[in-house]
Symmetry: C2
């Protein structure tokens, strides 16, 4: 008989059945329960464990605890060790942020290497509440209040609707063993204060507080999506891409009483900090400019012009004709018509051949590129935002090429296919486009 | 020497100097401080006091306390008594909501009758925080988290940035007398719990918590405005008004992955409750319908049709020609060209004569009307939303007429002028349009 946890997983994530799943396991209560739950489902699983070396021997104790458990239960396990402190120091990050960067970049790397489909983490409703309150006490925007997502990109958090109490109860009923989790060191005092002093009062005011928060957060996410819709619609009205630059038409923009909000949305991802200076450009003298590390905004008559500081993106475009089966420069692609979809990974896409128009064009990505990422139900997203969400480094971003058909992005190569060209039930001709080793 | 409170009022609301201001005064700490502050500013003030008769003799004690204070200080005072419990029972409202409805409708009435400009209330930062937390514990949407506005419509809350502690300190330093406020009866236990148990922990985690919250709420308001922009832009793309009905083009609408959010935004103000039934209509059979008390949504082929249940809005339109100086039916208007603006109230508007096109049209308002309310910097708003915000009753709404020029609303008559036709520095010809007693 399945528990309510397993029923939730089966109904909320029915597609997991035949997938290959990594489980991020620290050895603490939550992740050991997640592991126990997944062992009883018919999925192919493997464990990922990061040793951040932040607690000396204790960290190695955790590692061997998991290693033993997996050995005894015949579960494949991947472990890695990070010098988290050194990384944090090098990149001027807090220990916590450094650990997250290291963890997720290793996760994504392994997904590719081992050809797994998803990573499951054991975040639960109380984690989500604590994060909400931490962000709230610091001052935050809508994004900081919408909560930890149940599913984003290839990360899935199946325990998110459940409280810590329910997870603990399951562990006790099933005699699950775990290591007391003393990670989150830098954050521990704050999380404990919230957990022990603040949350009990909220739950006293409303015993269903966790449910109320879930409802609130789903409304907030709806509002956030609408705000993003507005951001994209207005962008399409006032912004024009000229090569690598983006020109914002100020006469149009200034018709909006809240134009500053939009400028913030559009320019935020380019590393600007001096927001008041940027807002002042709108009514400022022609020729004035504001800089970030990699970009600048210039006021030029009735236009704001965003430009990259270096000529980091080449301007060449390469055409792929209808009879080409191979491209060798600037990167290696192979194109062939096939009858069945085979292995699906980031190195190959399958498109509906009747939806595309030749010649396809191969070019570097631009600051203003927008596409509809596969799996997002047709929502538009800026390519630069995708890179930010996927935490691509500047160097990784510089290497990215775009495949486009009639000015629509087909593939952010090696990163994400576009929804508009995907295979559907009605597809009659499938084109496979495969990336080989880069030059 | 002015206090920081008075400096804030002078810098944030510089336009109050020559205005006539009502002060809503309960007799409690906050409103007595507000009154004391305003007495020392060169504004024309009068006190409004509502006796909600919720605490027997105590309520009358508050009333005579204020009355005495105003008499001694030569401040004009208006008082009224409400049978709040009876009103709440009749309209099936909570005592708190009933008190608010009664209070604000009386306030707005007096503004008109006495030709005052604004109402000032004494809400402060801790009120705002408590409201935020109450909404949060109950589950809420973005609107419930954006906080009490410093300024909306004709209500101004000059103490909103200040904490209760600061207000108390001012009262003590200035020997201000007040009545212990035991109102908010139904809400008192909850507010006290939040005030005494929860808020101190938040302020311990971040001593500047109130400031952080103000920052958060200003970001949230930005996002909310953007979400509203999206709602209006998409509405203009998919909705078409046909007489009193609104037709929503489902083929267009369904292209949006988050179309439910938009349907909710558009239909929410029409009193629907069965949201899942409405969402099911989108893919449901032609002919299916969902009802609210006054409206229905019908699925008809590729369209959702919103219609009022009764033919409550007449369909006639009346034209006003360029040489008309008077209209006598269906309501009495007088039009004249003038050289200077005189008294400004809801019974008369002044428009730039060169911006309007004759014939002007006089008609009842429609469900889908959108205009740009005067004073909102060109933001668009649905007329129905304005009525909701101003808490107009169904009967009041039925009486409202619209004056329009070339299909643009010039005046929601007796309620709000449109921004687009207002007088500006460049105006050369002023047209005054005045409403006389309705028929």
């Amino acid at each position: 008989m399945f528990s309510k946890f397993q029923n939730h997983i089966a109904s909320r994530f029915p597609f997991l059945g035949d997938k290959k799943l990594f489980l991020a396991v620290s050895g603490g209560l939550d992740s050991m329960v997640l592991l126990h739950l997944l062992q009883q489902l018919p999925c192919q699983i493997a464990v990922l464990h990061c040793n951040f070396q932040l607690r000396g021997l204790e960290s190695f104790g955790d590692q061997s605890f998991i290693q033993d458990y997996c050995d005894r239960n015949n579960i494949p396990i991947f472990t890695t060790q990070f010098d988290t402190e050194a990384f944090a120091k090098d990149y001027k990050l807090s220990t916590q942020v450094a650990a997250r960067e290291l963890r997720y970049s290793w996760f994504y790397e392994l997904l590719e290497e081992e050809k797994f489909d998803y990573i499951l983490t054991a975040h639960h409703a109380d984690d989500n509440l604590e994060t909400f309150i931490i962000n709230l006490t610091r001052g935050t925007g809508l994004e900081g209040l919408t909560g930890i997502p149940e599913e984003n990109d290839r990360i899935i958090r199946p325990l998110l609707p459940f409280s810590r109490d329910k997870i603990l109860k399951y562990a006790q009923e099933n005699n699950i063993d775990w290591r007391e989790d003393s990670s989150n060191a830098s954050n521990k005092y704050l999380r404990n204060k919230i957990r022990h002093d603040l949350v009990p009062i909220l739950k006293e005011i409303n015993p269903n507080f966790l449910n109320a928060l879930q409802k609130t957060q789903s409304y907030l996410r709806e509002s956030q999506e609408m705000a993003e819709d507005a951001s994209i619609m207005i962008y399409q009205q006032v912004a024009k891409e000229e090569g690598e630059d983006i020109h914002f038409d100020l006469n149009q923009l200034k018709k909006l009483p809240n134009y500053k909000s939009y400028l913030y949305q559009w320019l935020n991802e380019f590393g600007f900090l001096a927001w008041n200076d940027i807002y002042d450009l709108v009514d400022g003298q022609s020729g004035k400019q504001v800089f970030s590390a990699e970009f600048r905004v210039l006021k030029n008559r009735d236009t704001l012009i965003l430009s990259p500081l270096s000529q980091r993106l080449e301007k060449e475009e390469f055409e792929i004709g209808v009879s080409d089966t191979e491209v060798n420069f600037p990167l290696k692609l192979r194109l062939c018509n096939i009858s069945h979809i085979t292995v699906h990974d980031n190195k190959a896409i399958f498109v509906d051949a009747e939806k595309i128009q030749f010649p396809l064009v191969l070019r570097k990505w631009n600051t203003g590129d927008i596409f509809q990422p596969f799996g997002m139900n047709g929502k538009s997203k800026k390519v630069s935002k995708l890179f930010k969400d996927e935490k691509l480094s500047l160097i990784e971003k510089e290497k990215i090429w775009i495949l486009s058909s009639a000015n629509q992005i087909v593939w952010v190569i090696g990163v994400r296919q576009d929804e508009r060209f995907k295979i559907e039930n009605t597809t009659r001709k499938i084109l496979k486009i495969e990336l080989h080793n880069e030059l």
